[in-house]
Structure formats: structure tokens, C-alpha cells
């Protein structure tokens, strides 16, 4: 993907190119592109004078970052304890069957990315599935079809 240097420049400038803001800067880049393009990482490393290994280290250490492009619809299945004891695994398996991908993957048409998250903090409504920031509570395998087709 071509990265727009002026966009990167303005993101870095927002944080005064402070080295401590690396994570925030990467978050903003990810919000822009839905992932971290390699070219963007190179640019950040050069502009901010942070060794590539550190930029790459941060980009791969934190779960929030992805080096692969994501689908238009991002589905997150909460695997927190409260969701786990109420059967979130069964919901995930049904999603994997319906979308024909495994957690962490994106459908071939680039429509859906399926991910698991450790807790979205809506524990009272577990199992929870979040699609593009919209929360679906008290999920069951039976409800999977309806939340997918509602989109």
C-alpha cells in the first residue's frame, strides 16, 4: 500500500515527535490504514530517529497492532472469563464455520476479519461479540447468522 507521507507527518507532529508517544503514533496510523504498513513503520523509524528494531518490537508486542490489512468489518469475539463460562467458545466456533476462516484471519473477499479479544469490559452481557464497535450481548451460536446478515 502507498502511504501518504503528509498524513504520517501530521500524526507525528501532533505528538511533537516525542519518543514516548510511539505507541500513540502507531495507534493513529493503524486507525488510518486499519493496519501498520511496513512503509509507514520505516518512515516513523527514520523521522523519529527510533531504531527500526524498536518500532518493529512495539508493533509486534502489542495486540492492538496488526501488520496485515484488516477486513471492512472487524468482528471481535470476547474471550474474557465471564464470556468464557457462558460459552463464548461455541459462538467463536460458529463464526469460524459461517465465515470459513479461523480467528485472526480475514475472508478472501476482504469483507470480514475475525479476532478474539481478552475482555471488552461488558461482562454482564456475555458472551459479547463486537462488530465495528457495535456491541452484541448475550450471544449464542444461534444468533450468529442474524448479526452477520444485519450488516
Amino acid at each position: 500500500m502507498d502511504v501518504d507521507q503528509s498524513k504520517l507527518e501530521s500524526i507525528i507532529a501532533q505528538y511533537d515527535a516525542q519518543k514516548g508517544s510511539l505507541i500513540s503514533i502507531l495507534q493513529d496510523i493503524q486507525a488510518e490504514y486499519s493496519y501498520l504498513p511496513v512503509d509507514a513503520l520505516e518512515y516513523v523509524s527514520k523521522e523519529m530517529d527510533i531504531p527500526r528494531v524498536q518500532v518493529y518490537g512495539v508493533a509486534t508486542f502489542f495486540k492492538a497492532f496488526s501488520l496485515k490489512p484488516k477486513g471492512r468489518q472487524q468482528i471481535q469475539v470476547c474471550m474474557g472469563t465471564a464470556c468464557h463460562v457462558r460459552g463464548s467458545k461455541k459462538v467463536l466456533e460458529e463464526l469460524e464455520r459461517k465465515l470459513e476462516i479461523k480467528a485472526g484471519d480475514t475472508t478472501l473477499d476482504g469483507e470480514y476479519t475475525l479476532e478474539t479479544v481478552n475482555c471488552v469490559g461488558a461482562c454482564a452481557l456475555g458472551p459479547v461479540v463486537v462488530i465495528n464497535d457495535e456491541y452484541h450481548g448475550q450471544m449464542t451460536p444461534m444468533k450468529v447468522e442474524s448479526i452477520l446478515s444485519a450488516k
Binding site: Q18, K19, G20, S21, L22, I23, S24, L26, Q27, I50, Q54, G57, V58, F61, F62, K63, A64, F65, M79, G80, T81, A82, C83, H84, V85, R86, K90, E93, E94, R97, V117, N118, C119, V120, G121, A122, C123, A124, L125, G126, V128, D133, Y135, H136, G137, T140, P141, M142
Partner: protein
């Protein structure tokens, strides 16, 4: 308006209160994440629109607040001044509520909460058993203020603790007050807050930092999220007071990026505090400077650990370091740093306002004040509860939580997050405080309380936490990185029927090793879920190993589904929903399940209305 003195603050407060008509009706709608998930956004716009179309918007106020705690019953709407509590409110109800309840004072029965035990309808929040036994101090403002409007916070006495501090208290006397109150860290460790402040204050160096740990990573816990979303100013006020006592002018809030509403409300609150001269230079004319910046986390559980969090604030991967030198001496950027959790900070203004003696009168000998728990899992009243320290688990689970749904048997309650343990029924009368929970093999943690019933497999739970921690282990030290991997493999063997009794003792050895040799608390406590389930539920491990059975019917490899021909009515529901085509049969004739094709997804078991699908 920038407030340059305490007098200006108090004048503004007086003005806010004078402008407020206590009899003016106000529709309060919960805007917490739980209610958001239940669709409160549509309810809010329905009310706003309803007030317009009915032409009463100048006579009736509307307020969107933070989390009320009773998330199970959301969206929650409370009508003031009467305090009428409506639950599970839909957008279609808005017009009727405005016309009938707000204008005519008539109560709509169908929206009231019905006590499942007595079948009685409850009108006020305070009549509902879920709220009756709680002591809501930290969460109190959540139902009273609009978190995006600082005037609301000022109206309920906000920033009066700060005023008291800068109006003649010395840093030492603030620390003394916190010490006397007995406040201990609410993030889980339980370290005395005052002592932490004192050592940071006494550490050498001109530049010191105060940090708020809002990287609430424990799965099943969301109290910090609710405080940040619903009452962000209480955390900010606590931090300003802490900074004053410690001698710091820079503060950081490290908040999970998974909490967008918390980030948004915090950002607004900090901005408003700055505009009012409560953050920035020369706060309230006291010559004390302090400001706060927000850093969003990157989604790593280990960053809840103080040194990992500080590494992350420096723009490095969140790996912990050995704490030969405490962070109070060398923390962020190698400078003295004081880190406390969200709930700890939110307690500070309460203590300053009402005094250490009042605060320490609540709780047990060693654990003072209240604790917020997220009561979730297999429990009737799920939600956030705040109780005085020392309340028994039984009271929390049965009196407040309303017991276990569907007449199932209670099996265990898990506290302390992934580093905690599972507590069995025999210990339900345990009073909740730091020491008692640790003694039972669990811990206070940040306050997750996950209730498990007879359908929960304890070996599966142990595997779940072990896998969780293995994935979240940063990999820096060998015991944690390799030990958890091996433990996870053994637990998988057991849940899949390949386990041996020798492996059980191997797990116990590994647990000891993790405890003794890991670098940070993630590793040293990682074996708690395994140890506590082995201690209290050993028979379940043995059933998996010796009998190749999962007594709770959870571990897929050890269960087989079938159809009881005597019970099957041939309705076809299972066949229609089976994703693998394993079920066949004629209409109105008993169906047959082909175990060779069955993928054990349990959908047939869940859809059958006649209990005809069997699980062995």
C-alpha cells in the same frame, strides 16, 4: 471560566446549586458500556425527540450518566425527583414515560423491576435487593452526574477535597491522612497507598511522576472502566491531591484502548478541568502546578504491571523489569514515580472530604473502605457492586447477586483475575478482604468475581487461565515463558483425555517453580488458578484422567451427544440447525445422530425443547 482561588470555586458551586431547581423533573438515562450494548443510544435520542415533540423540553431535564451497575437490566432510566427506576427501557417507551410518569406522575408497572423471589414490583432503586446491601461510595456519582459536564461534578461537591488540600494542608498531612485511612491499592496488590506516596515523596529528585493505572486487563473485571466513564473527575481530583502530596507536576493516565468511551470522557474531563484552572499552572491560586496526559494502551495484559506500564509509557515494548530498585525511586524515565489504580485514586477525595476516621470505620481490621466488584458469570443479577470490605462471599452472591440462574448448583467463585483462584462452596462464608482471599488461595485482584455453576468444568477453567497467561506472557523470563507453555500442554492433555496421574504432580512442581523463579507478578501468581482448582476440585482432574469423563460436560473430546428416541418428537429443530448434517430423521419420527459426523458444537442440545438430546 478559570478559577483562580478557592473562593471563586465555592462561589461557582453556590451558583450551580442556586440555579438548580430540586423539583424540576429529570430523566436520567444510563450511558455506560453495558447499557450501550443494550441499545441505550436509541433510548436517549427517543427521549430527546419526545421532549421536543411534546413541547416540554424547557420543563424537563435530561441527563445521560455513567454506569448504574445493574447492567443485566439495561437500558436503565430513572425519573427524578421521585427516583422511579425503570429497567429494560425501549425507545418506544420514551413517549409514554414522558407523558404518563414525568408529566402525570403515573408509574408504568411493566417497566418496574420485579423481585424474582417475592414477585413484588419495586419502584425505587433503593428497594431493589441488588442495591440494598451495597454501600456505594466510589460509584455514587455514577448515577448523579453527567460525566461530560464538570458543573454536575461541582454540584455534588466535586473538587472540594482539592480545595481543602490546597487551603492549608501540607503534603505531609495529606499523606498522614491517607495513611490513617488504611487505604490499600485497589489494583490487586493491596499495598498501603499512603506508604507508597511517602516513599515517592522522600525519593531523591526534582521531577516526579504520578500515574494512574487504567489498563484494566483482568478479563471479567470492568469497574475501572465504569468509574472512568461515569465519574472521571473523581480520578482526576484524586490524582491532583496525590501529586500535591508527592511533589509532582506531571501525571499520566494509561488507559486501555479497548475502552473508547472511557478515553473520550476522560479527555473531555481533563479539558474542562484545565479550563477551570483545576489542572495546569497555579491551581486555584495555590502556586501548585500539575497537569495530566492520557496514554492509550496497546492491548497487553502484562502492562498492568507497574514496570511494564512505565516501559510502555516510554514508547518501548511493555516488558517488566526486576524491581531491585522500586519505581518510587526509579520509575518512568528513571525518575521517582507513583502508580495507583483508578479505584484507588477515586477513593482519595472521599477520604480527604470525610476524614480518615470515617473511612477507616468501614471494613475489616486490615482492609478498609469499600471494594467494587464486577459480579458476573452464572449469576442472576450481573453487574457492578460496591460493598464494604468484610462482607461474606455468600452475601454478595446470594443477597446481592440473587443466586444462580436456572436452579443450577453453585460450584465456585473465581476472584482476582487470571492470577486469582477458584473458591469452593465450603468457603462461601469467607469475609472478603485482602488477607482472607489470599489465605484461601485466591486474591483480591482488581475485583472480578466470576460465578461458576455445575456446568462449569474446573479443569477447563484452569486451562483457560493458563492459556490466557501463556499468550500474555511477555517472554522475557524463562519460567513464565516455558513453564506456562508446558502447563498449558499438560492441561490440554487432561481435558482431551490423554492425561496421566504423573502429569498432575508435574504440574504441581511447575507451579512451585513459577512462583519462586518468575520475574514479575504475572509469572509468580500464574499458577494460582491451577493450584486452587487442584486443591478444591481434585476429583474433577481425576475424573478426566482415570475415567475419561468431564463431569460438567464441557470438554468436547470427552463427551458424546445422542438423541433419546423416547423423548424426541421429531420436530426437526436439531436437524435444521445442525451445521454438520449429523442428524437425520423423518418428520414426527425420532431422529438419529451420527456420532461420526458430529462436531460437538452443542447447538442441537441447546435448541431441543424436549430434552431429547443427551450429553454423556
Amino acid at each position: 471560566m478559570k478559577l483562580t482561588s478557592i473562593k471563586e470555586l465555592e462561589d461557582l458551586r453556590a451558583q450551580i446549586l442556586a440555579d438548580k431547581d430540586p423539583d424540576k423533573p429529570c430523566i436520567t438515562i444510563c450511558g455506560g458500556t453495558g447499557c450501550h450494548a443494550s441499545g441505550c443510544e436509541n433510548v436517549i435520542s427517543a427521549f430527546k425527540q419526545g421532549l421536543e415533540t411534546e413541547g416540554v423540553s424547557d420543563r424537563i431535564d435530561i441527563r445521560v450518566t455513567g454506569c448504574h451497575g445493574f447492567c443485566e437490566r439495561g437500558p436503565i432510566v430513572i425519573i427524578f425527583p421521585q427516583g422511579i427506576f425503570y429497567q429494560k427501557v425501549a425507545p418506544e417507551d420514551a413517549k409514554e414515560i414522558i407523558n404518563e410518569t414525568v408529566v402525570n406522575g403515573k408509574i408504568l408497572d411493566r417497566l418496574l423491576y420485579i423481585d424474582p423471589i417475592t414477585d413484588e414490583k419495586k419502584i425505587h432503586e433503593s428497594d431493589i435487593p441488588f442495591y440494598q446491601k451495597q454501600k456505594r461510595m466510589v460509584l455514587e456519582n455514577n448515577t448523579l452526574v453527567d460525566p461530560t459536564n464538570i458543573m454536575d461534578y461541582l454540584g455534588v461537591g466535586g473538587y472540594s477535597a482539592l480545595a481543602k488540600v490546597v487551603n492549608g494542608m501540607t503534603p505531609e498531612s495529606v499523606i498522614e491522612e491517607i495513611n490513617k485511612s488504611g487505604l490499600r491499592g485497589r489494583g490487586g496488590g493491596g499495598f498501603p497507598t499512603g506508604r507508597k506516596w511517602e516513599s515517592t515523596r522522600n525519593a531523591a529528585g526534582d521531577i516526579k511522576y504520578v500515574i494512574c493505572n487504567a489498563d484494566e486487563g483482568d478479563p471479567g473485571a470492568y469497574m475501572d472502566r465504569s468509574i472512568l466513564e461515569g465519574d472521571p473527575h473523581s480520578v482526576i481530583e484524586g490524582m491532583i491531591i496525590g501529586a500535591f502530596a508527592i511533589g509532582s507536576s506531571d501525571g499520566y493516565i494509561y488507559v486501555r484502548n479497548e475502552y473508547p468511551l472511557a478515553v473520550a470522557n476522560l479527555t473531555i474531563a481533563i479539558e474542562q478541568a484545565r479550563e477551570h484552572g483545576l489542572l495546569g499552572k497555579n491551581i486555584l491560586g495555590s502556586r501548585f502546578d500539575f497537569d495530566i496526559s492520557i496514554n492509550r494502551g496497546g492491548g497487553a495484559f502484562v502492562c498492568g504491571e507497574s514496570t511494564a506500564l512505565m516501559a510502555s509509557l516510554e514508547g518501548m515494548p511493555g516488558e517488566p523489569r526486576a524491581k531491585y530498585i522500586h519505581t518510587s525511586e526509579k520509575g518512568l524515565w528513571d525518575r521517582p514515580s507513583n502508580l495507583n489504580n483508578v479505584e484507588t485514586w477515586a477513593n482519595v477525595p472521599l477520604i480527604i472530604n470525610k476524614g480518615a476516621d470515617w473511612y477507616s470505620s468501614i471494613g475489616t481490621q486490615s482492609s478498609k473502605g469499600t471494594k467494587v466488584f464486577s459480579l458476573v458469570g452464572k449469576i442472576n443479577n450481573t453487574g457492578l457492586v460496591e460493598v464494604p470490605m468484610g462482607m461474606t462471599l455468600r452475601e454478595i452472591i446470594y443477597d446481592i447477586g440473587g443466586g444462580i440462574p436456572d436452579d443450577k448448583e453453585f460450584k465456585a467463585v473465581q476472584t482476582g483475575g487470571p492470577s486469582g483462584g477458584c473458591i469452593p462452596e465450603a468457603l462461601l462464608d469467607l469475609p472478603v478482604d485482602y488477607e482472607q482471599l489470599t489465605e484461601a488461595g485466591s486474591m483480591m485482584g482488581s475485583g472480578g468475581m466470576i460465578v461458576m455453576d455445575e456446568d462449569t468444568c474446573m479443569v477447563d477453567v484452569a486451562r483457560y487461565f493458563t492459556n490466557f497467561l501463556q499468550e500474555e506472557s511477555c517472554g522475557k523470563c524463562v519460567p513464565c515463558r516455558e513453564g506456562l507453555l508446558r502447563m498449558g500442554e499438560i492441561l490440554t492433555d487432561i481435558t482431551e483425555g490423554r492425561g496421566t496421574m504423573e502429569q498432575l504432580s508435574l504440574i504441581e512442581d511447575l507451579s512451585e517453580l513459577l512462583k519462586d523463579a518468575s520475574l514479575c507478578a504475572l509469572g509468580t501468581t500464574a499458577a494460582n488458578p491451577v493450584m486452587s482448582t487442584l486443591k478444591y476440585f481434585r476429583n474433577e482432574y481425576i475424573a478426566h484422567i482415570k475415567d475419561h469423563k468431564c463431569p460438567a460436560g464441557v470438554c468436547k473430546e470427552l463427551i458424546t451427544y445422542g438423541i433419546d428416541p423416547d423423548k424426541c418428537t421429531g420436530c426437526g429443530a436439531c436437524m435444521k440447525n445442525c451445521p454438520s448434517g449429523a442428524i437425520t430423521g423423518e418428520k414426527k419420527q425420532p431422529h438419529v445422530l451420527d456420532t461420526g459426523k458430529c462436531i460437538k458444537c452443542q447447538i442441537c442440545y441447546d435448541v431441543c425443547k424436549f430434552d431429547a438430546v443427551t450429553k454423556e
